[in-house]
Amino acid sequence: MRVLYFAWLRTRTGCAEEDVTPPQGVLTVASLVEWLKQRSAGHAKAFAELRVVRAAVNHEYVDLDHPVRPGDEIAFFPPMTGG
C-alpha cells in the first residue's frame, strides 16, 4: 500500500509518502492507523487525536472502518481548509 500524509500529518510523521506492507490482520483504515502509529514517535503523534484526522482511500473520502487492500492509495489529512 502507498500511504500519503498532508498538512500537519506530513510534518509530524516527517513523511509525505511511504510504501508499507502491513501484516495480514490490517483490514481497515482504523487498523492501518494503529499499525502505522508504531513506525515512529512522529507517526504516533500524528495519529494521537483521531478526531481531527480524515482519510481517503483511492481518492475517495472514507470513514475509519473502510477496508484497505494491497495496492490501495491511502491518504491521511486534517479537515480541509481550502477556498
Binding site: Y61, P79, M80, T81, G82, G83
Partner: protein, 156 residues
C-alpha cells in the same frame, strides 16, 4: 470548468471568456478569495496552500457537477491556486452564470462553501511568531451543511 494552478488568474478575463457568446446569461456572479493580512487578530505574512494533486481536480469537478444539478447554470468556473501566497494575493475564483441572478448567487455561494470543506486543500499560515496550520472553522462546516439535502449524497 476546473483549474488547479500555482499561477495567478485574471478574474475579468476569465469572466469574459466564460460568458462570451452565451446570450442566455442574464447574470454572472464571481467570488474571489484573497489572502488577508490578519487572521483572528494576529498578523499573517504569508499563506501556503498544500493540496492532494491526484484528488483535487476530481473533487472540484464533483462539486461543480453538484451545483449544475441543483441550479440551472449556463456556465461555471472554479480556479484554485496552490503554493505560497502573500497578503492581497488571489487564492480562488468561482464564477457561475445563469439566466437569472438568484441561481447565479446561490450556486456561487454553494460552490465556495463546499470548496472550503470538501476540496483537499490545507492552509499553512506564516506569522511573525512562526508557522501554523489553519484549523477548519466550525463556521465553515455550518455554511457547508446549510446546503445539505437528501439529494446531496452523491457529492459527499
Amino acid at each position: 470548468m476546473i483549474r488547479v494552478q500555482r499561477e495567478d488568474f485574471d478574474p475579468g478575463a476569465e469572466l469574459a471568456a466564460l460568458t462570451a457568446g452565451r446570450r442566455g446569461i442574464g447574470g454572472a456572479v464571481s467570488f474571489v478569495g484573497l489572502v488577508r493580512d490578519m487572521a483572528e487578530g494576529a498578523p499573517i505574512t504569508a499563506m501556503t496552500l498544500e493540496h492532494y494533486p491526484k484528488m483535487t481536480e476530481a473533487k472540484l469537478a464533483e462539486i461543480e457537477q453538484e451545483a449544475q444539478r441543483r441550479w440551472p447554470i449556463e456556465a461555471s468556473l472554479i480556479v484554485h491556486r496552490y503554493g505560497r501566497l502573500e497578503p492581497g494575493e488571489r487564492i480562488v475564483l468561482v464564477i457561475t452564470a445563469s439566466a437569472h441572478r438568484q441561481a447565479a448567487f446561490e450556486s456561487c455561494a454553494f460552490l465556495v462553501d463546499w470548496l472550503k470543506t470538501k476540496a483537499p486543500f490545507w492552509k499553512l499560515e506564516e506569522t511573525p511568531g512562526g508557522t501554523n496550520w489553519v484549523d477548519a472553522r466550525a463556521a465553515d462546516d455550518e455554511a457547508s451543511q446549510r446546503w445539505q439535502s437528501s439529494h446531496s449524497d452523491s457529492a459527499e
